[in-house]
Amino acid sequence: MEFTRKNRQLLSRIATNDRHGENSHYFDGWKAYDSNPFHPIHNPDGVIQMGLAENPLCFDLIEKWIRENPDASICTAEGLDKFKDIAIYQDYHGLREFREAVAKFMGRVGGNRVTFDPNRIVMSGGATGANETAIFCLADPGDAFLVPSPYYAGFTRDLRWRTGVEIVPVHCKSSNNFRITRAALEEAYEKAQRSNINIKGVIITNPSNPLGTVLDKETMRSLVSFVTDKKIHLVSDEIYAATVFSSPRFISVAEVMQDMDCNRDLIHIVYSLSKDMGFPGFRVGIVYSFNDDVTNCARKMSSFGLVSSQTQFLLASMLSDDEFVGNFLRESSKRLAKRHHVFTKGLEEVGISTIKSNAGLFFWMDMRPLLKEQTTKAETELWRVIINKVKLNVSPGSSFLCSEPGWFRVCFANMDDKTVEVALDRIREFVLQGKEENNHEADKSQARAQRWRKQNLRLSFSSSRLYDESLMSPHMISPHSPIPHSPLVRART
């Protein structure tokens, strides 16, 4: 089918503008990875994916649970009697058991300092859908939301594309570890007012993506009082809440509200299981609002992105297994902590510092000493070197709207231990500016591949089926990837 220029006019403005965000150079890293993906045996010199914030570290625990609980699936012999009722269930309230299990889980993740009401749990198509839904409920086209930077690159699309709402960044600085200050909020707000931009709210991510830090109580209280003062909304995206692996602990905005004078109608939480449980494929997004009108509206809007009842049923069962959940959360923290430590220590040894972080699936790496000059251009140049020469797909700070050049987000959870070593080796060599020739490099990578084969490692990507000769190398693509062909993962057909 020919696509003609005439057709461009036949589509809407939303369809033809750039607000989907995929034309950003940010995706060059993905393209580099996709055209040359690292594989321990088949392609040891390939690009290692460190731009994908995924959490597969505890799948063994989940798989064990699934094996031991066949009645949690409506398609097994044990669960088949529930098939019909679940397959029919399209009520946008969501299965009661699902809402109760999610509410309980959110409570546990918050250290059981808050009780979440299952009747306020509203579904959405992942946190992607939840954030968009929140904006649809709270702002009109042309309005704006304050978003502290650096922030998740996907917000550019999720908050703006179909809603027509704008983002006004609140730039945070390394001088105080990128804390969100009242002064910065006030300044951004005033500036927007002067430009006739109607600010309808603030959206924060806590724990922060890309920083990997949790917001402290004081900052949280300051945010709540700021929005109450200005009569604007606060959306707290708490998608990384259970990835906290050391102190200080995670404090939900729900907890902070409990002993504060504030307007509860202004406070809304976005949650998801994509990061904490590692289930991005299941599309479990949650909008939790303390405002009844918003809850009702978001619930109606959830018709556009309900969670599959099959998935609701499975997760209702899994998340209400207290023993499993407790064990999972503990193990997950442990494994994330270990992984984080290995990386940060390794980097420290070659003089690279990172923001002190205790959460998330990534760390925020300081490469400013390596910049030719402190500009975005120099950052982009350095980034291209890291992608093309060092062969690591890391994410440049500019793609998170960071106002200071030289910072990079590096994901550490989406690979196995050996790949971690390879990645660290590469960084070390790059930093120490190894002058080894290419053939030395070839020898080294061959030796690594041989060691790999010998050691018969359990890779966290699971079985050898994934590295089937007939298939392309594994690569997992996020919803943001513009790469046209579909990735490796195939159903068992």
Partner: protein, 438 residues
């Protein structure tokens, strides 16, 4: 404990405070009555029978049988990997195997008379999301889509609410069995123009909800010609395509395009879902099939807001790619729906009620206009309330489907057992007898 402070009502968006979500319509009021007093075969025999819900429960046993025999379709932990890859899979292209299975299923439903390319299939969480998404892509806020009446009440929300797009009705009436005519389309177009609304497309549901009838080939040709003439889009919601009682009677817009050598295809988009044909509304499986590359690319990006659970994609990929299963399912489902339809038509006829001649869907289009006091919407609603509160049947009044002729009602027949349908028919019979006596 927080101190309660009197706060002024805080502002929400215009979308949030509007009524365009449509839930205040009588279509939904009937549901409420049902929820409060639902019929049950043993424990509440005098309750309200739900006949306003277009669900397909007649073929579940076929699905259950498949799962019993192929439990590995969805089990992960039996020594095979797959769970973690599946749980991580969030690519908006969707599982290739699932798209292939959907394309093949859609072809089978059309008796192989049209071909579908899996790479043109975009996945969304239900047809609800598919229709909204297409509207975002094809029209700007303030523009209009032309929709033949009567139409599915949900369109008022799905196509208009968050998109800001208007619906301008193409009026159809019983004088020609509610068929869509070029004159009616032209009238609607002019009407939109006179309101200064830019028409961006025409959206048809084929087979029709609520009519329960397929659109004839000649009408489809005229509709496509109209779209070409006005240089607008044509969206064909074919969600009930697998629910036609006889395979040969459904003609998809895909077939029309095929015979035209795909000329003008780039303005045509098909919506499909498994909610009706397979009876799986809870699984949220919708698709957009577009012949326009730009639409496919953009729709795919937008589907990020409404992807199908990878767990569900995996299950259905297995099920639908099993040709033996899918062929048998399609055939058996058609037969059972046809049987149900015959049953209700016969029963209504016995009670002195005529219906539009239908050949598809999960409902029939019943004509109660002879019972109206006056040929007005108010009379229709009054009659509807009587049927809801006295006869205790939740059926959908034509006005909620924007029918311009009062007195028609949509009656669903596939979301209950045969026994319940018998009881419903008995109640109608009794009601009509009573009216005759009075």
């Amino acid at each position: 404990m927080a101190i309660e402070i009197e706060q002024p009502r805080v502002g929400l968006s215009k979308v949030a405070v509007s009524k365009t979500h449509g839930e205040d319509s009588p279509y939904f009021a009937g549901w409420k009555a049902y929820d409060e007093n639902p019929y049950h075969e043993t424990s509440n025999q005098s309750g309200v029978i739900q006949m306003g819900l277009a669900e397909n429960q007649v073929s579940f046993d076929l699905l259950e049988k498949y799962l019993e025999e192929h439990s590995e379709a969805s089990s992960w932990g039996k020594g095979t990997p797959g769970f973690r890859e599946n749980a991580l899979f969030q690519d908006y292209h969707g599982l290739k195997s699932f798209r292939q299975a959907m394309a093949s299923f859609m072809e089978q439903i059309r008796g192989g008379r049209a071909k579908f390319d899996p790479d043109r299939i975009v996945l969304t969480a239900g047809a609800t999301a598919a229709n909204e998404l297409l509207t975002f892509i094809l029209a700007d806020p303030g523009d209009a889509l032309l929709i033949p009446t009567p139409y599915y009440p949900g369109f008022d929300r799905d196509l208009r609410w968050r998109t800001g797009v208007n619906i301008v009705p193409i009026h159809c009436d019983s004088s020609n069995n509610f068929q869509i005519t070029p004159e009616a389309m032209e009238a609607a177009y002019q009407s939109a123009e006179s309101m200064n609304l830019k028409v961006r497309g025409i959206l048809i549901t084929n087979p029709s909800n609520p009519l329960g009838a397929t659109i004839q080939r000649s009408a489809l040709e005229q509709i496509l010609d109209f779209a070409v003439n006005k240089n607008i889009h044509l969206v064909s919601d074919e969600i009930y395509s697998g629910s036609t009682f006889s395979s040969s009677e459904f003609i998809s817009i895909a077939e029309i395009l095929e015979t035209r050598g795909y000329k003008d295809a780039e303005r045509v988009h098909i919506v499909y879902s498994l909610s009706k044909d397979l009876g799986l509304p809870g699984f949220r499986v919708g698709t957009i099939y577009s012949y326009n590359d730009q639409v496919v690319t953009t729709a795919r990006r937008m589907s990020s807001f409404t992807l199908i659970s990878s767990q569900t994609q995996h299950l259905l990929a297995c099920m639908l790619s099993n040709k033996e299963f899918s062929e048998n399912y399609i055939k058996t489902n058609r037969e059972r729906l046809s049987k149900r339809y015959d049953m209700i038509i016969k029963g209504l006829k016995k009670a002195g009620i005529e219906c539009l001649k239908g050949n598809a869907g999960l409902f029939c289009w019943m004509n109660l206009s002879p019972l109206l006091e006056k040929p007005t919407r108010e009379s229709e609603l009054a009659l509807w309330k009587v049927i809801l509160n006295e006869v205790k049947l939740n059926i959908s009044p034509g006005s909620s489907c924007h029918c311009s002729e009062p007195g028609w009602f949509r009656v669903c027949f596939a979301n209950m057992s045969e026994q319940t349908l018998e009881i419903a028919l008995e109640r109608i019979h009794k009601f009509m007898e009573q009216r005759k006596r009075n």
